[in-house]
């Protein structure tokens, strides 16, 4: 009886799966067209799935092994089941292979079930709680049904009772695992995930060696402002490109993003996992009532909904997502770094912010003022641009306008206006001079890099600032740019390229490490090195670490001055954001606690006296935490402190920088 039933069941399930797949593809195709190398992507997909994805899953050993056993067993079992039971190839060898595959899958599924007995809060419940049972049912049913074929049991073993039981098991199993995969069940992640990896919007993330680090490709994609018909950002779910929609659909709801998100931890109304699920709801239509994970803090489930053709954010009443959810993000990319499916959350958030800023003029709180200041004064705080070089009035800095060429162009950044950051800048200049680096600054010709404008969604102002900066830079000859600001560093390095400015850019920590390697600096031991208690920890800036993969150089520099870094639990690629990125301090969405306070708590657990930083934003955010707390020092300051200057140069009369801010375009 089973011999007739099983093929019918299998092929019905497969047919339904194909039907579901077509329907799913239609949903994705609601998105805007984009150029994707389909064939190359498909060819690269197995490697991306087996190597790159596995590498991220591997950060949780338990889960990676469970996944290998379950998924590997399932794929093999599915293929063999179709051959053996579907096409009736009752070969003893194939039977044994199928037994092995289902056994492997069964063992994996047991571990899935164990994880689900007391699941951590980040995991979604609902249908996901059913999944281990379905996996067990599938593997067990096919195992037993295959025993006669492998010759272990007689053909008629168990009679019709067992046949009926097995039929129920197989129906359950293939429902979940075959057509549930394409009809929106939990197994959808395997189908959509495979295609998402194949047609990923950032294929450059997957390069050899393996490990699809988010740092490989972190620059936001430019809007084509020349095309007046192209939408400015994303208003409705259908305004995403089709492979973005596909990416959202591949979410496995593991909640690793949620566990890492600083805004979620601070109680701000953002949960990256829920955001991605909301995009799926938007794509397919419906409400979030059937979402079984953690909500946005402070926002109950079941009140939001939408469809592909209606706006994501509504200004009257509720739509898919509230605007404050989008403005809570610090763009720290912790979610992207953590996502085993390589979903690009930050791109999606900025896409939606672009619409709010460029079309609706709805940048919250100080956003509009900051953008106006950037347009009128080239700095976010509206300081008079002629005061940009006041911090260096006595330093006699060489100006590019006079020198025209130098080895190093020192990009000062908007920290020039901030009295705290001026100490960092002066310390770094001291080091540059001690190392006799041939450097120059742009002086009053420098403008804001455009980072804040871009993260606030104002692509127009970003491109205007960027084009003017590129115009200025194109007039001078230099080998590389060095900056103390990871945000400028990231934008100059990764985001000016699309607008025609390609440069070699160094963060000052990398540059310092290079100077130390080349023995161009005479450094002493830092007093902190001699202490037994206390010590120093290092806070990784998001835009240096996760955005650009630089974790080593700052630690190397600290080691060179004799300091052993006492690492925080969350450091390196898992460092928690200071709360200062993505314009978050400007949009200032309230939460239960402040992100910098949480980061300072991380720092305090190491018991250090000093926390080393490499970013003006981090400095400002961490110094904003009330005392008593460890002191916040930039790496440049720490190095300048122990600098042994060979001979003091005679003081030269300092030249005042020329007071004019010219328009360049």
């Amino acid at each position: 009886m089973l011999n007739t039933l099983l093929p019918i069941l299998l092929f019905t399930a497969l047919a339904l799966a194909v039907l579901g797949a077509c329907r799913r593809v239609m949903l994705w195709r609601q998105g805007r067209p984009t150029h994707v190398d389909l064939l190359r992507g498909l060819l690269a997909m197995p490697r991306r799935y087996l190597v790159d994805l596995h590498h991220v899953v591997e950060r949780d050993r338990y889960m990676s092994r469970t996944h290998v056993a379950t998924a590997g067993g399932f794929v093999l079992a599915a293929v063999l089941a179709v051959l053996v039971h579907g096409f009736g190839l009752h070969n003893r060898l194939l039977g044994w292979a199928l037994l092995a595959a289902t056994a492997c899958m069964f063992i994996g599924a047991l571990f899935v079930a164990k994880r689900r007995r007391n699941p951590p809060a980040r995991l979604s419940k609902g249908p996901w709680m059913r999944l281990p049972k379905s996996l067990l049912m599938f593997s067990a049913s096919f195992f037993i049904a295959t025993l006669p074929i492998a010759g272990i049991l007689p053909d008629d073993f168990g009679g019709w009772v067992l046949a009926a039981v097995l039929t129920v098991g197989v129906v359950w199993g293939v429902s979940e695992l075959f057509f549930g995969m394409t009809w929106g069940g939990p197994m959808k992640h395997a189908f959509a995930g495979a295609l998402h990896l194949a047609f990923h919007r950032r294929p450059e993330r997957f390069r050899t060696p393996f490990n699809a680090s988010a740092a490989r490709s972190s620059g936001l994609k430019a809007l084509d402002l020349g095309d007046a018909t192209a939408p400015l950002g994303v208003e409705k779910p259908k305004d995403f490109t089709w492979n973005q929609l596909l990416g959202f659909d591949s979410c496995v709801q593991c909640g690793r993003c949620e566990a890492m998100c600083p805004a979620y931890a601070a109680g701000q109304p953002l949960n990256p996992k829920k955001l991605i699920q909301d995009m799926v709801i938007g794509m397919a239509g419906g409400t979030d009532a059937r979402y079984f994970g953690s909500p946005y803090p402070g926002k109950p489930i079941g009140e939001h909904g939408g469809n592909a053709h209606s706006p994501i954010v509504s200004f009257e009443g509720k739509a898919l997502v509230d605007a404050e959810t989008l403005w809570s993000c610090t763009t720290c990319r912790a979610c992207v770094e953590e996502c085993p499916m390589m979903i690009e959350h930050v791109d999606a958030i900025v896409d939606m912010r672009r619409h709010l800023t460029l079309e609706k003029g709805a940048t919250p709180n100080k956003g509009a003022e900051v953008l106006d200041n950037l347009i009128a004064t080239d700095n976010p705080n509206g300081f008079n641009p002629v005061n940009r070089m006041n911090w260096a009035a006595d330093l006699d800095l060489p100006l590019m306008a006079e020198k025209h060429h130098a080895d190093v162009l020192f990009w000062v950044g908007d920290g020039a206006f901030d009295m705290r950051n001026q100490r960092t800048l002066r310390a770094f200049v001291k080091v540059l001079k001690a190392a006799k680096v041939d450097f120059a600054v742009l002086g009053l010709e420098e403008r804001d890099s455009g980072d804040v404008a871009r993260r606030l969604g104002d692509e127009a102002t970003f491109q205007q600032l960027a084009r003017r900066n590129i115009g200025t830079l194109s007039r001078y000859r230099f080998n590389r740019i060095v900056t103390c600001d990871p945000h400028s560093f990231h934008v100059l390095r990764n985001e000016y390229g699309a607008l025609g400015g390609t440069y070699t850019v160094f963060h000052h920590s990398t540059f310092l490490a290079e100077l130390i390697d080349a023995q161009m600096l005479k450094l002493g031991q830092h007093p902190l090195a001699l202490q037994t208690s206390g010590g120093l920890t290092y806070h990784d800036p998001c835009y240096l670490g996760r955005y650009n993969g630089e974790y080593e150089a700052p630690r190397k520099v600290l080691k060179a001055i004799g300091i052993e870094v006492r690492e925080m639990e969350r450091s390196g690629f898992r460092a928690r954001c200071c709360g200062g990125g993505g314009g978050a301090p400007i949009t200032d969405i309230p939460g239960v606690q402040r992100i910098p306070d949480m980061r300072m708590a991380d720092i305090k657990t190491t018991g250090v006296e000093v926390v080393a930083v490499g970013c003006p934003q981090c400095t400002a955010m961490l110094e904003g935490v009330v005392a008593p707390r460890p002191e916040v020092r930039d790496i440049a300051e720490l190095v300048a402190e122990v600098l042994i200057e060979s001979s003091v140069a005679p003081a030269k009369p300092s030249a005042t920088p020329r007071r004019k801010a010219e328009e360049v375009l």
Binding site: A228, L358, E359, T363, L371, A376, N384, D458
Partner: protein
């Protein structure tokens, strides 16, 4: 509040940022646009006399206006007669302007001269238009120290807006790019003042020294919040126009306004 039949025109000029002197939407004019948008939504007519190709005018369109109307004039032309002509013909009930332009002459005289030319009432320091009905508008006028005076003013009227009016909304790139700038050729009237006078940089106006007499925080608070109580002066009620005019003339002579 928004009357379907109400027609509102906001006059706008090209502004200049106080720090960088870059062209921008003028702060007060933008507030006048905001007030107009509050009153009639995107039926608001926004009018500029000058160069229609000035990019910074688009910042007004970015506030959500479908179009901006420009009476094309070269630099140095007198905006007053063309505006007066236009408004005379426009069947408009409310005209909103900023108090003082940020570029050009910037004398702050335009609302007064327009009101004089048209024979319409002028409300300076307009903070809000509360209601418009039966040929009259009930408006709030801003006075120093956050005080407001409720006025009833006959339509049509001119209202000039200063920083007491609600802040202008953000200007967005999309609508600014899409918005249409419509031109109208008008007769160019040369501003004779530009021929005979020369511009010179403004000197900061001398400020009266603020002598703080208060000894305690409570005193300082009282000084900062108390109503300005003028010394001297008199209130004239039920006097003949002749007597009233004489009293005003006397005060003007005493203050040295008329010599």
């Amino acid at each position: 509040m928004s009357d379907a039949l109400l027609d509102v025109i906001t006059l706008v000029s090209v502004g200049s940022h106080p720090m960088s002197a870059r062209a921008r939407r003028a702060e007060q004019d933008a507030r006048a646009v905001e007030l107009g948008l509050h009153l009639v939504g995107d039926r608001l007519t926004v009018l500029h006399a000058g160069n229609p190709y000035e990019e910074s005018l688009r910042a007004y369109l970015g506030m959500g206006l479908p179009a901006l109307h420009v009476l094309e004039q070269p630099k140095g032309a007198d905006a007053l007669p063309v505006l007066a002509n236009y408004l005379q013909e426009a069947h408009v009930q409310v005209v909103l302007t900023g108090t003082q332009a940020e570029t050009g002459e910037g004398s702050g005289m335009l609302p007064y001269l327009l009101a004089e030319a048209l024979g319409w009432p002028l409300v300076v320091g307009l903070a809000d238009v509360e209601s418009v009905e039966a040929g009259y508008a009930q408006v709030l006028q801003a006075l120093p120290r956050g005080q407001r005076r409720r006025l009833k003013v006959r339509l049509p009227f001119i209202g000039s807006v200063d920083n007491a009016a609600p802040a202008a909304r953000q200007s967005a790139f999309g609508p600014a790019r899409r918005g249409e700038i419509t031109l109208e050729d008008v007769e160019v009237v040369d501003d004779l003042l530009w021929h005979e006078a020369a511009l010179q940089p403004a000197r900061p106006r001398p400020k009266r020294l603020k002598v703080i007499k208060a000894k305690t925080a409570a005193d300082r608070f009282r000084a900062a919040t108390a109503k300005a109580t003028g010394e001297g002066g008199q209130i004239l009620r039920d006097v003949s126009p002749q007597a009233g005019a004489e009293a005003i003339f006397k005060v003007l002579c005493e203050e040295g306004v008329i010599r």
